[in-house]
């Protein structure tokens, strides 16, 4: 049992190592011409624009729910005035980035994994190489970059929609004005809350893109393999995001000590 667990851990570490090398290679290639701007734009559209409705809806619902929860707990202390600030801090610092990353890993990670997996098993990746296109650069680097760029933006959308959702929940109970809500919402938010936690999602984007592309590129065994890739890509990127988040939060606290 212990031995098997040990082997599983070793296998996982080895796998993480391979994915990391894949990601490193992607980063190195990203700075070498030719730059696939058209493809990056196309992927930004796929990863970003097309995820926006999902992200906005989720962010909004989370805002409403968080607002209700914050109200329940703050009401006990007679601190209802702190609801907007509490909600905003919770969203901006942690909920927004993490929820966005997990949602995107579900929608985009699975999509990229399946798409590249299918391209792999139908030899489309070879076909790209055959027409002298660097498939790694054309398919993997562009998608990883698109994920890295899209995540902070999607996180911002989650945050804004969440705050708006919180506002609607709040105003329906207390009739608070939008202006007052926003002034209270941002009363305790510092640059050091917003900027690091938004930018850290670039790491999440990197994880989602890299894991999905790696799994896509290494897909075997036909259609069944494609399905497996799609699932694994969601599972693995979610796990890695959650683990990375621990490290990142620690790092952010180290660099920007909480007030």
């Amino acid at each position: 049992m212990v031995e098997r667990t040990g082997l599983a851990i070793l296998a996982f570490l080895g796998w993480v190592g391979e994915v990391s090398l894949f990601g490193l290679r992607a980063m190195r290639e990203a700075f070498r011409p030719p730059f696939e701007f058209a493809e990056i734009t196309r992927q930004l559209y796929e990863v970003g624009w097309r995820s926006a409705p999902l992200i906005a809806t989720s962010g909004f619902s989370i805002g409403v729910v968080l607002s209700m929860h914050t109200r329940a707990s703050l009401e006990r202390f007679g601190a209802e005035a702190m609801i907007p600030a509490g909600l905003t801090i919770a969203l901006i610092r942690e909920t927004g980035p993490l929820v966005t990353a997990l949602l995107v890993s579900g929608r985009v990670g699975a999509g990229i994994g399946a798409e590249l997996g299918a391209m792999k098993v139908t030899e489309q990746i070879d076909a790209l190489e055959a027409v002298a296109v660097d498939s790694f650069k054309y398919l993997a680097v562009t998608r990883i970059i698109a994920c890295i760029l899209a995540l902070p933006i999607l996180t911002t959308i989650t945050n804004v929609c969440g705050i708006l959702g919180g506002y609607l929940a709040e105003t329906s109970i207390s009739g608070m004005s939008l202006e007052l809500y926003f002034s209270r919402a941002f009363a305790v938010v510092e640059f050091s809350d917003l900027i690091p936690s938004t930018l850290k999602t670039m790491v999440f984007g990197m994880i989602i893109g890299t894991v999905a592309c790696y799994l896509g590129f290494t897909t075997t065994q036909g259609t069944e393999g494609v399905g497996r890739t799609s699932t694994r890509s969601v599972v693995m990127s979610s796990i890695l995001i959650i683990l990375a988040n621990v490290v990142l939060v620690r790092l952010i606290f180290f660099l920007f000590p909480p007030v």
Partner: protein, 265 residues
């Protein structure tokens, strides 16, 4: 080795297109294994400029793998692969790209990019590697599709095509940049006999214009028609090599049986 010379000697007009410094393609002692399965075992062969070369063999004998080695899509475990005298196993990425630009590859399942239209599939290599105007790219793509009889499929998505149509579209894409070397994996599989013949004629026409053809097929009549030289792979090794006539007279019963079949699988 000597029978290869013989092959190129047989087509003097084709040899005229050669720049004289050796074969278009050369495989030297190429071996390749997948896990425990040895797919290619010390394969050595030359294909002269402007000739048609046909790889025969039963399914799973490493024919497609050989084509992929020529394209540099696979690297041999041992041995070397030369294209136009350049060792593709040692080339840097960019140089390999340059070599690949002179080649066209028709995949067994066509491998059309299924996220773009058939027309865009054919236009894709031109968009990537030429600075042609949009109009010229589209015109050329249409002309290539017309060559394979698929004019009407220009705006369709690959998913909407039948297997045979995909194959022809894949051929159109492989020919997009007027390659010096065309690698075709079972061009007539899944096509009706008439379309198959048309494709053969098309390939023959290309060869006459100086294109070096390497073809994998089970269709013996088509191989006899298009190829100047044939080789038969069995269990990773070349068991016969020469013109159609030479293979007909082979000592090996398997080769003779293969050559007698009227249409491949």
């Amino acid at each position: 080795m000597n029978h290869l010379r013989q092959g190129s000697d047989a087509h003097v007009d084709a040899a005229a297109h050669s720049d004289g410094d050796g074969p278009a393609i050369r495989l030297e002692g190429v071996s390749k294994s997948f896990a425990d399965l040895k797919v290619l075992d010390d394969v050595t062969l030359d294909v002269a400029q402007g000739t048609g070369f046909c790889l025969l063999g039963r399914s799973g004998t490493g024919k497609s793998v050989t084509l992929k080695h020529i394209m540099g899509l696979m690297m041999p475990d041992a041995g070397r692969v030369f294209v136009h005298g350049k060792n593709v196993t040692e080339l840097k990425r960019q140089e390999l790209g340059e070599v690949r630009r002179t080649m066209g590859f028709l995949f067994q399942n066509a491998a059309l990019f299924d996220s773009i239209t058939v027309g865009e599939n054919v236009a894709f290599p031109m968009r990537r590697h030429t600075d042609w105007a949009e109009e010229k790219i589209l015109d050329t793509a249409k002309a290539r599709l017309a060559d394979v009889g698929l004019t009407e499929a220009f705006d369709k998505m690959p998913g909407d095509l039948s297997g045979g149509m995909k194959k022809r579209a894949g051929l159109a894409r492989a020919m997009a940049l007027d390659p010096d070397i065309l690698l075709v994996d079972e061009p007539s599989a899944g096509l009706d006999p008439i379309t198959g013949d048309e494709i053969d004629e098309l390939l023959l026409g290309l060869k006459k214009k100086g294109t070096t053809l390497v073809m994998v097929t089970h269709n013996i009549p088509s191989a006899r028609h298009v190829a100047d030289e044939l080789a038969m792979l069995h269990e990773g090794r070349i068991i016969a090599h020469g013109t159609a006539g030479e293979l007909d007279r082979s000592d090996d019963a398997l080769v003779r049986a293969f050559m007698r079949s009227e249409s491949g699988g």
